[in-house]
């Protein structure tokens, strides 16, 4: 007697490795876009604070668009737009570009809030002590304002990390796409989605826990 042929192969340890690799890809895409996006966002926030024309009239509406249009639409739109202007982007790069701009638009508001949370009298005092404009910005505004908006920034970071799941729409195999592939093969959605969920939780929860502790320590 031969065993009946099974068409569906079950979940095996190799698949766990596959999911782990995909989790690293998720981590990589979010680290890349969050780092670049945060730096860009700080610059944008500074421009928004400094200049009424360049910031308020030109930059603010553009950043507003990134915040008011769903990420999925932005991704599909950019992925289809890039070849028109002769850019040959793979899904990973287009995902990074859009996520970066999205992060920058969120961080710019946070950064502006941080700059404005430092009282003008404080900045005048530091200027009258002989600090230059940049010294004042980096040694007075950054430590004080940064501390105020740190929780908001962490919120943005966590949000972008979770939203990076949407890059799967373009066909980039990150954690959620990988779990979908495995579901198609093994037909065990509950198990695989649970594992993917645990991976996401493991990426996101330590950051939020650490941030809330940090906040408490600063609040003292």
């Amino acid at each position: 007697m031969q065993e009946p042929i099974s068409f569906f192969t079950g979940f095996n340890p190799n698949d766990l490795w596959f999911l782990g690799e995909a989790a690293l890809k998720t981590l990589w895409i979010s680290i890349l876009s969050i780092t670049v996006g945060s730096v860009m966002g700080c610059v944008f926030g500074w421009i928004l604070h400094e200049s009424r024309f360049a910031g308020g009239i030109i930059l603010a509406p553009i950043l507003d668009v990134f915040r008011s249009v769903p990420l999925i639409i932005q991704l599909v739109l950019f992925y289809n737009f890039a070849p028109m202007v002769g850019l040959d982007l793979n899904p990973f790069l287009s995902g990074v570009v859009i996520l970066t701009f999205y992060t920058a638009s969120l961080v710019s508001n946070v950064a502006r809030g941080g700059i404005e949370s430092v009282e003008m009298s404080m900045r005048r005092a530091s200027r009258s002590l002989g600090l230059t404009y940049w010294q004042d910005l980096f040694h007075v505004v950054l430590p004080i304002g940064g501390r105020t908006v740190f929780p908001a920034w962490i919120g943005v970071v966590l949000g972008v990390m979770k939203d990076s799941a949407l890059v799967s729409v373009l066909g980039y195999v990150e954690l959620l796409k990988a779990s979908q592939i495995l579901i198609t093969r093994t037909q065990e959605p509950l198990l695989i989605l649970s594992i993917a969920g645990v991976f996401y939780f493991a990426l996101s929860y330590p950051i939020s826990l650490y941030a809330s502790r940090f906040e408490k320590r600063w609040a003292k």
């Binding site: 769903p70 639409i73 989605l193 969920g197």
Partner: protein
């Protein structure tokens, strides 16, 4: 540079359908927000006042909703529950997923709001002869709603944006309808550009309406 023929005419011809779908988006977001506010309020109260299993239920819900992507939650309700033989319709999936997510986020906002109200107020309400239910519904919750009004508005915008995930589970709201048209005509860029504009308008309408409501509600 641009060797792409834009075909705007068929897209504009299907504009009424897209706007109709935009109304569906608005409906699903409002419905999800309504459920989210009610459940989120319950979760916040459970998390602060209860002990034992109820508290852990609320904590688990909040942490899972906040630390995994919304798309993952939708997939879980869509595919994951299929393992138990529960097959939900796309409408129910997206409604459940969005409400689950919104409830988790709003619960934390509500918790912040409740903590901003001094305990002394509850004590004095109890001294005046109100029971606990009256003290909460007449003294605490009106003040909390005022504090969390802007976070709720924000969350409403998020709900509108997140409802675009319906595209991935086959629900025909704005982005689902857009993808349907786009895959029928292969004019992906044009359709998604129009969808982006409609989303932008919807978000602006939501924000404007909430601002008007705030002027009406917070006159005193």
């Amino acid at each position: 540079m641009f060797d792409y023929n834009f075909h705007w005419r068929p897209v504009l011809k299907s504009l009424p359908d897209l706007i109709q779908a935009g109304l569906v988006t608005l409906e699903i977001a409002s419905l999800a927000m309504f459920l989210g506010v009610v459940i989120g309020l319950c979760l916040a109260l459970m998390r602060m006042n209860m002990t034992g299993p109820l508290k852990w239920f609320a904590v688990t819900w909040i942490e899972i909703a906040r630390n995994t992507p919304a798309l993952f939650q939708l997939f879980f309700f869509g595919f994951g529950l299929g393992a138990f033989g529960i097959n939900l319709s796309p409408f129910v999936i997206i409604l459940t997923g969005l409400s689950f997510n919104c409830a988790g986020y709003l619960a934390e906002n509500f918790r912040g709001g409740f903590q901003a109200i001094p305990v002394m107020q509850i004590n004095s309400a109890r001294c005046l002869g109100m029971n606990s239910w009256q003290a909460y519904t007449r003294i605490v919750i009106p003040q909390v709603l005022r504090i969390v009004y802007y976070p709720i508005t924000n969350q409403m915008v998020w709900a509108v944006l997140m409802s675009s995930l319906g595209m991935l589970i086959g629900f025909k709201e704005l982005s689902g309808e857009t993808q349907f048209f786009a895959s029928k005509t292969f004019r992906v860029f044009e359709y998604f550009a129009v969808a982006a504009v409609i989303y932008y308008v919807i978000v602006k309408i939501v924000l404007g309406a909430s601002r008007l409501l705030a002027m009406r509600l917070f006159r005193y």
